[in-house]
Symmetry: C2
Subunit: 321 residues, 2 copies
């Protein structure tokens, strides 16, 4: 499945979002200009800005408001990744060295802060206090979700409820902001705002579940980072949780958490998960969330963007990177 | 000089700002609630929120807008301190252990992000896109100023221009936001907005110069952190700069930067600065900026808040902590 085909109706406007993003590179301070180029020039999938534009297409498509909003969600995403990489001491992301690897944790903190600020500048251009407040609330939800994840690292006793709460905070909240803001800024009626927000939220949950599956079944080349990164950082995701449920006693996940120095346990956990029905079970859960995401879309005005949102939900599960 | 006396006309409203700040403590996540209590309950001087309230007193004093704005500048300040402490690996601040010391750098990053978000929520309550944009621009200026400071650490060849640019970014910008936002939210005419913004900006420069002096001449009890912290972190401030100008060759600042392991050089630099006219010279510069800050205040409507701003400028130089 090809993202470009899904993005067809917004392709041109997505390039304008990229132009918006690139406009922040023009700063006096040479180091900063270079890093901004490095982090906003790169090849993300652009799902969040696409969600904002697509969600803004059902009522009054107002590009003057949607462009800065789309740029804003992408920058907020980039900023959180830079901070996450500093926290997890990750060396690569999307096949490129992280800011943490290149410059260390201190510049990563400040560059992330700078990007939050630029995201805030863009969102203020929407002139919508409601959307601006949602933006800030989302950042609070994300950082509180990440704190939650940080403090539950290496804790084997986590419930599925806790897992869904965590990924809801760290991923689904920004997907929901992306769609909800697009709806609000296009003057959608409240019912449609809710449908699009829920679409974003459930899609975000599915997206993160698939990310967590790919962390076990992908290749380093596809992932752009080492396989098994989550376990390496002590993060229990759905596949690891299911493996623990199957054999609670002698289990490489458990051994990994009890003896962090033996990398062999990660390799074993990856093997066990790959060769078990766990992967299918996780995909089934992701598909459930995609279905939930799409269930009320038929109540939106019929146009080709509804189709694009349905296709995007299929893509989120089918992707391998 | 007593801050309470200067704050007299806004004392009651400052308590309401504190209530606003304390309202963010009520969160489900126990660790977060405890840390929020720790960081917003503590005893800052409250200069930034006071500046917002005082600056809002010349035209329509609209507490419904000024309260969230005042809470917002204080939270932005708190968030930047938490990130700064993680970057500088500082162990104490205002006589208390830093979040970095208590929990490490990772939670410090996320707690700071959370506070930026809460600051953003408060500022969105002002419903003023102009002020919201200024807020984000200020955060960009601060983080870019901090990046600048980070990369110029241990660089002996810094000019006064660079020093003033740096403290303008990291300190004066937030002072200027505090006063400018108060003016805007009270419907001040543009000329008065400019006068109050300039007041905040120059006062912020003076404030930082005095901070930099106190770092050499204060006691650990007064400062709430070790004396000589700036030099210990490789930051050249005005007093160190003047010491380098006096004896460019054999100089403990230079020796400190060339051999970071010998703490004796910091002690020597402190002694040399304390026993030289450098302190007076630096205070003269701070006083110049205070005079600049106050020079146009007489064009504002005459009331007791004008007097309070003048007194606050005196306090900024006279304070010993």
């Amino acid at each position: 499945m090809d993202l470009n085909a899904i993005y067809q109706s917004i392709q041109e406007d997505l390039s304008r979002v990229k132009e918006c993003l690139r406009s922040i590179i023009k700063v006096e301070f040479p180091w900063l200009a270079k890093q901004l180029d490095y982090v906003v020039g790169g090849g993300g999938k652009g799902i969040r800005p696409a969600l904002t534009l697509l969600s803004g297409k059902f009522y009054r498509y107002n590009l003057e408001l949607l462009l800065p909003m789309a740029a804003s969600v992408e920058l907020m995403h980039t900023a959180t990744l830079i901070h996450d990489d500093a926290i997890d001491k990750s060396m690569s992301r999307r096949g490129k060295a992280t800011i943490f690897k290149l410059w260390g944790g201190e510049p990563a903190i400040l560059l992330g802060d700078y990007l939050f600020a630029k995201a805030g500048e863009f969102v203020s251009d929407t002139q919508s206090p409601r959307v601006i407040k949602l933006f800030s609330q989302t950042l609070a939800t994300i950082s509180s979700g990440e704190l939650n994840q940080f403090f539950s690292a290496y804790n084997l006793k986590q419930t599925r409820d806790q897992y869904f709460k965590k990924i809801s905070g760290k991923t689904a909240s920004l997907f929901a902001l992306s769609t909800e803001s697009g709806a609000i800024l296009s003057g959608a009626p409240e019912k449609s705002v809710r449908i699009l927000r829920d679409y974003g939220h459930y899609l975000g949950i599915a997206f993160q579940i698939v990310d967590d599956i790919l962390d076990f079944i992908g290749t380093e080349a596809e992932l752009g980072k080492p396989v098994g990164s989550d376990l390496a950082q002590g993060t229990i995701t759905l596949p690891a949780m299911l493996l623990l449920e199957r054999s609670p006693e002698d289990n490489p996940v458990k051994r990994r958490f009890e003896n962090r120095d033996d990398p062999d346990n990660i390799r074993q956990a990856i093997e066990l998960i790959r060769n078990s029905p766990i992967v299918d079970e996780c995909y089934a859960v992701a598909n459930e969330y995609c279905a939930k995401a799409c269930q009320h879309l038929n109540q939106l005005p019929e146009n080709n963007n509804r189709e694009a949102l349905l296709k995007l939900a299929e893509y989120v599960v089918a992707r391998n990177r």
